[in-house]
Symmetry: C2
Subunit: 270 residues, 2 copies
């Protein structure tokens, strides 16, 4: 059930090749690529033309993206692009840490007498960590292939943890947070920043934490699991901070463009 990550996009009914999906996926990609400036108004007709859909399915996408947090409702009319500060994203990552921490604790607490060791999802976690050991050694900032494998395994680790918690509520909230830019366990930006030696170092520290988490779970140390996962999430913060510092100057890769350094004129739309 909650095993596979697949499933087109879940909500917004309609077969995944519907106009609504085309609009949602297309617009989300545009937004995450920083194609629009924060605060910019999303005019429906031009957007519909650009995405090759009519206004109705586009509207569905706009509403969805507002709930996802990428857009904000303009007080009087339509939608505008939401403004993200680094602080917002850091807080979101920390919330993710809270949720994963709770998931880890519940995984231990709810596994009953037998302990977590018996569960198949726990086997998946262990297998992911085992393979990550070798993948992490391969990582050198050049091998794109190894990095892709790293991401797959890391996501597998985190998904298996959620499965173990058996909590629909946590599952839901995590799925939600994962749609916020840079908040997911393996945020897309890892892909591009992983050349940096500091980032590689952080991936290795993360892998050490993976081991500690497995260890604590096997011992039934629920609180330790929770704390480890909270700290584990903070690695994403560090990683993001590094990527951000790197581009203090001008270029700023497209994926980072949605972030506004500070509050600026966080107030009105203008």
């Amino acid at each position: 059930m909650a095993t596979s990550r697949a499933k087109a996009d879940d909500y917004t009914m309609a077969p995944s090749d519907s106009q609504q999906m085309r609009a949602l996926l297309g617009l989300r990609e545009l937004l995450l690529n920083g194609e629009f400036a924060p605060g910019e108004r999303m005019a429906e007709i031009p957007l519909a033309n650009r995405l090759k859909v009519s206004r109705t399915p586009l509207r569905v996408a706009l509403i969805s993206l507002e709930h996802e947090g990428l857009l904000a409702a303009h007080p009087t009319r339509g939608f505008i692009v939401r403004r993200f500060t680094l602080q917002d994203i850091f807080d979101t990552i920390e919330i993710r840490g809270l949720l994963e921490g709770m998931a880890g604790r519940l995984a231990v607490e709810r596994s009953g007498m037998r302990g977590v060791t018996e569960e198949v999802a726990f086997q998946r976690m262990k297998e992911a960590v085992a393979e990550l050991d070798s993948v992490v050694q391969t990582l050198d900032g050049k091998s794109q292939e190894a990095l892709e494998r790293y991401i797959v395994l890391n996501e597998g680790f985190h998904q298996a943890l959620l499965d173990l918690a058996r909590s629909e509520s946590i599952e839901r909230e995590m799925q939600r947070l994962a749609k916020m830019p840079f908040a997911a366990p393996s945020s897309g930006f890892v892909r591009r920043q992983a050349e940096l030696p500091e980032s590689l170092h952080i991936l290795r520290i993360g892998q050490d934490q993976h081991h500690a988490i497995i260890d604590a779970m096997m011992s039934g140390e629920a609180t330790r699991v929770e704390n480890l996962l909270r700290e584990h999430a903070r690695l994403s913060r560090r990683n993001l901070q590094i990527a951000f510092d790197k581009h203090r100057g001008e270029p700023m890769p497209s994926s980072l463009r949605i972030i506004r350094e500070s509050a600026e004129n966080k107030g009105e739309t203008r």
Copy 2:
């Protein structure tokens, strides 16, 4: 900004007297009153007639309510009423505790040198607690008026706490959780269950925790604040459990009807 709780419903643009609002508010009320059985399909045309809106704004409401978590997208067609177990709601309340705990900790950590004492929002918290002291004494299960006042003050306390955290991310997530049945700090069910002596007792314990939270914040004990708030949220669980146990038999007030005892046939729609 985040000071007032007002603002019609925030998203779903449109002036608050729009058809979209009528549909959203109307349908949400129907759902929370347990008018539909979990798993039931939400047919658009009958619903539109019932709510006196056309299909287009109704559709907006359906999509919104799916994101809020009250509806689920049927794989192939339309929306169905989501199934809630007591476990789901308990987990959601615990997540609320995590968020409020983080908010309290941030409030202390981010208040800088001067400490939290200087902040106006902290004054609001103290004032709310002060008045709650007298209101709580008045509560006797008969005075509806005192109960209403209790709810207002309690919500003020929790909102001021969020304001102190100065975190848009937490604010957002809390606003979201508050739309889940029984997850808000002063869940609607308090209103009807407060006759029960056990519930009254719980409200008094909660007030004691309020004092402890204020105390810890003044001392700058961030971690203690966090733990207190996590535990504070669990009172809602106890309260809900009491209300639920009370109606083991048959009647089950309308507000509790959306909860299904256990997973039953949590699988398919049928």
